[in-house]
Structure formats: structure tokens, C-alpha cells
Amino acid sequence: MLETFSALFDGFAVCFSLENIFACIAGVLVGTLTGVLPGIGVTGAMALLLPLTYGMDATPATILFAGIYYGAMYGGSTTSILVNLPGEAASVITCLDGNAMAKKGRAGAALSIAAIGSFIAGTIGLVGLTFFAPVLADAALKFGPPEYFAIAMLGLVLLTNLTGKNALKSFLMVLVGLMLSTIGVDSVSGISRLTFGIPSLMRGLEFGVVAMAVFGINDLFGTLVEPQEKKEIGHVTLRELYPTRDEMKRSVGPILRGTLIGFLIGLMPGPAGTLASFSSYSVEKKLSKHPEQFGQGAIEGVAGPESSNNAASSAAMVPLLSLGLPFAPPAAMLLTGFIVHGITPGPTLITQHPDVFWGLIASMYIGNVFLVIINLPFVGVWASMLRTPANILMPIVMVITMTGAFATNNSVTDMVVLLILGVFAYFVAKYGYSMAPLAVGIVLGSTIETGLTQGMIICEGSVWKMMTRPLSGTILWLALLLVAATLFKPVKKLLINSKDD
């Protein structure tokens, strides 16, 4: 315990350098902007900014990236409340009561409670991350390739069950992600795979470019070629920001419950922020003495979900920092940020790069304070950002994306990959295929391949041996049970339908 506190204080010392503080402020500012502006997702924004961090050291670069991630969770609430337009998927549920409150002239109170709840949840979530990640990392030092393979498989199975409406479609996207991850030179044999003689494909597809395509270009097409609704943007003055005593009292429980729900869900793979906010809303509605007020402007419907999605973003860092396994696209983008700067997240991160690990965690505490400072007094400024015409903003974003793709390897091939995958993602996503499993599939591809091939060698080619190792076996059986349960649903439906016929 004392060691953790001591290390955390060292982290604060690292974080208080001018460069790192600047990175933290820049990160939360860009993150808030990302959350406010619809059409630029958090992963897309992180991918866009990746080339800008090339000249930076590892610590400020990762601080900047993390700032974008949790800043976006904050910013999403502003547009949900003021315009009924969620900047982030995790803020969709906030529209229901947040915008209803705005229509009643209580927008300021809703924004304040969202910011206070996000701050409390984000900070409590960080305390969880501070103490939980080192323990998990310590345990993970004993893991071998079969264990890593098993954890990655369980993560992907959970992800496919939690993402989108159709688990099979999500699983197919994981497979497409794995297909893309096999392009390039195989790290074990040195054989070039599926490159079709194109030299620039030998190094494989860059995750940053893929993320820009499936989250950036995809959203950009949607904004530019689909009809957009015009929204009225409300005005909020500083005086209106104070919640009443009753509103404060009613928010305490939802904030604390939302934090717990968010942290637990955040540990699981998948769209944790969105799941956490929806779960928190449903819990608050069930526990409320006035469930009929939900949807009509209940403060609990803002406090719970907004706290929940912020706690989830802290918890999503746990598997990334301690195991090196990202189970959500923004975490995968953070992993890319680490790798670009020569750092491999995982169990050895704390011992080999304590400055980066603890500096990052300390920066998140500081970033949470900055978020309250820049969100509440300047809420009017953030809202006015929405007045920027999308048909001018989006072409600019498109140019940054194309330039960013080129800058990744100074290669035009990456621009071609960006365009092809962007068009692919635009059409495929319209028909119920989620892009998150594809992104996570690409990132986990090499872990799965190494874990599977080395695991098979260790287990002398016997799948049964792998399934009976204490840890990898337990995890794999759990994954198998989940797959069976998923497959059982359509079979059960088929049986019921045939009985009805």
C-alpha cells in the first residue's frame, strides 16, 4: 500500500513537468472537443493525433492520448444535454433526461451534475486503477503464451457478445480484424504473407491507419453525404449552473452507484462506456421512488449514466496497463501510442517504465480536475463549437486524416488502405456490423497467433492439454461456454419457431 502511494507521488512529480502538464491540458481539451462535436469519434480523434506525437517523448504522448480518451467522455454530455445530440455513444442515454431538463430551463444544473458526477466517478475509478492494475500485473508475470491466448480469446468472445445486435456479425468482424492482422512479414518465420508483392505492405497494416479509416473516414462520409438535422443550440449562463439543494441530494446515490457499475463494466471487453451508462440508467429507474419522472427530466437520469461512463473509461485502462491487452478501440489506440514510442504495455510496464505508468495515472487525476475547470465555466464556448458548419469542418478533418495516414510511414499505400477500409466500413457498418471487434481483432491478432502457435508447441499439439492447464483451461472453458450460449440462442429460436409452425 505504502509502495503504491510512494510510486503515485513519484508519478505526480513526473506529471508536474511543463511538457507533461501541457500534454495533459491539450489532451483533455481535444478530448472534450471530440466529445462535443458529433462525427469525430474518440478513437478516430486519437488516430488523427497519433502522428502529432511522433516528436514527443513516451510519457507526454501517452498522457495526451489518455486525456483525449477520458476528455471525450466528459464532452459528450454537453451536446446530449444542450442539443439532444450525443457526441459519443456513451452519452446517448443522457439525452433523455438531460435534454428534458434543458427544455425546462435546467440545462445548467444538468451540466453541473454531469461534470461533478464525472469528476467524482473518474477520480474513484482512478483509485481503483491505481491499486488494481499493479496487483493484476504482478499476477500476469506468471502467464505463458497459452494463458495470454486464453485471455485474448475470452476477451474477444465477450466483446462479440456485448457489441452490436448480432453476435455472429460481431464475431465475423473479429475474424476480418484477424485477417488484416496477418498481412505483412510473420514475426516468427520471417515469411511475407498476403502482401501481393507490395513492399510497403511487408510491415503490415498500421493500426492507426485502420482506426482512422473505420472510425474517422466512416463517420466523415456519414456526416458529408447523409442529410443532417438542424438543431437549436441553447444558451447557458454561469449563474444557471448551480444545481438546487434537492437536485444535489438526489444525485449523490446515483453518482456512487454509477461509479461502481461503471468500474465493474469497464473491466469487461466491449463498448464499456455505453453499456455502463445504459446499465446505470436502468438501475436508477428501478430504484427511483419516481420512475415516471425518467425521460421527463429526472436528475438521476443524468447523474448515474454520466458518472458510470467516466468510471468505465478508468477501468478500461486496467487490462491494457497490466496485461497489455486492450479490449476496446480507444484502449487499442492507446496501446498503439505506447508501441510507437517503444513501450510495450503489460506486466513489466510498472517495473521497466515506472515513470510512464505512474506519470500516466497521476496525469489522469490532474486531468480530471482540469476537465471540471474547462467544462463548467466554458460550457457556452463548447456549445458554440456546434455552430461550426459540418460541411466545412469535415473536409478539414478529412485532410488531417489523409495527411496523418501518409505521415505514419511516409507512404501513399497507407492512404490507399485508409480509403479502401473507410469505404468498406461505411457500408458494412450500415448493416449491423460493428467496427469495434474489427479494431480489437487487428490489435490482438499477433497476441493470439503467438499464443496459439507457441501454446500448441508447449502442449505438444494437444488442444485438450491446453484446455486442462489450470488457468488457460479455466478461461478457455469459460469462453467456450459463452460461445455455446450464443450459438444456443438461434438454435432455441429455430426450435420454438418450428413448434409454432
Binding site: 502522428p51 502529432l52 511522433y54 516528436g55 445486435k165 448480432n166 455472429l168 456479425k169 464475431f171 465475423l172 475474424l175 476480418v176 484477424l178 485477417m179 496477418t182 510473420d186 516468427v188 518465420s189 515469411i191 504473407r193 498476403l194 462520409f221 458529408l224 453525404v225 447523409e226 442529410p227 459540418a390 460541411n391 466545412i392 469535415m394 473536409p395 478539414i396 478529412m398 485532410v399 488531417i400 489523409m402 495527411t403 501518409f406 505521415a407 511516409n410 501513399v412 490507399v416 480509403l419 469505404v423 461505411y426 457500408f427 458494412v428 450500415k430 448493416y431 449491423g432 456490423y433 493470439i448 497467433e449 496459439l452 502457435t453 500448441m456 508447441i457 505438444e460 499439439g461 488442444v463
Partner: protein, 146 residues
């Protein structure tokens, strides 16, 4: 119709991927080789995409009622402008090609007049040129200008 096309495309992609993956040695369970994972992934993808394709052909797809609100003409023009940008990026240079892409994208996005799009195109291109070329030392192509 759209779902059938998308599912059909994914099925075709799975078959093509597996065909090419079969060109690499699978090895054996005791000594997996370079084609081990790609082939396993390919076979799984064929089964799942095939199942989804059959369901959508039978009219049981879960997205059969989805209707795209997309303006295909504008989408086509946008993609075309990006293709042209990639083609002229090196020979013409960053500044001119980027300004042209920005202007084209803004007109495709129905920005009225020519003064604002032209001004934004030139200023944004110069700004990004300075950021990437000067501050980040990215070797952006100079092309015709320098």
C-alpha cells in the same frame, strides 16, 4: 438488397482470403507453421459469412429493412476526389493537392459561393503543411511549387 450485397461481399472476401492463406504451409498441431492461424481464421469466416448470407437470401437477415439515406452521387464524388488526391499527391505536391481536395470536398458538401471554400482551402493547407512539414518533419512531397 443492401444486406445481401454486404453479406455476399464478406463471403467472397472470406473465400478469397482462405484461397490465398492456403498458399502458406499449415504445419501440424505439434508444429504450427505460418499458414496455421490464417487458414483457421479463413475457414471460420467462410462458415459464418456463408450462414449470414444464406439467412439474408432467405429474407431472415436482421438488417433487411435498413435503408441507406446516403446521397450516392455525393459519396461517389467524394471517393473520386480522394482517389484523385492520392494519385496527384506526389507529382503535384502537398500544398496544391490538399487545397484542391479541400475545395472539392467543401463544394461536394454544398458550401455556397467560392470565396469561403477557397480561403479555407488555402489557409488550412498552408497551416497543415507548416505543422507536418516544419514542426513534425514529415517529408511531405513538395511537387510543383518548390
Amino acid at each position: 438488397m443492401g444486406e445481401k450485397l454486404v453479406n455476399g461481399g464478406l463471403f467472397l472476401l472470406s473465400i478469397l482470403y482462405t484461397y490465398f492463406a492456403r498458399g502458406y504451409s499449415f504445419g501440424s498441431p505439434t508444429a504450427p507453421k505460418v499458414g496455421f492461424l490464417p487458414q483457421l481464421v479463413g475457414y471460420c469466416a467462410i462458415v459464418i459469412s456463408g450462414y449470414l448470407l444464406v439467412r439474408s437470401l432467405m429474407g431472415k437477415g436482421d438488417a433487411q429493412n435498413v435503408k441507406l439515406r446516403c446521397d450516392y452521387k455525393r459519396l461517389g464524388l467524394l471517393v473520386l476526389s480522394m482517389v484523385v488526391y492520392i494519385l496527384i499527391f506526389k507529382p503535384v505536391g502537398y500544398l496544391i493537392s490538399t487545397a484542391a481536395l479541400l475545395y472539392a470536398a467543401m463544394k461536394i458538401g454544398r458550401v455556397k459561393g467560392w470565396k469561403i471554400p477557397a480561403a479555407v482551402s488555402v489557409l488550412a493547407s498552408v497551416f497543415f503543411f507548416l505543422v507536418f512539414k516544419v514542426f513534425l518533419a514529415v517529408p511531405l512531397p513538395a511537387g510543383l511549387l518548390f
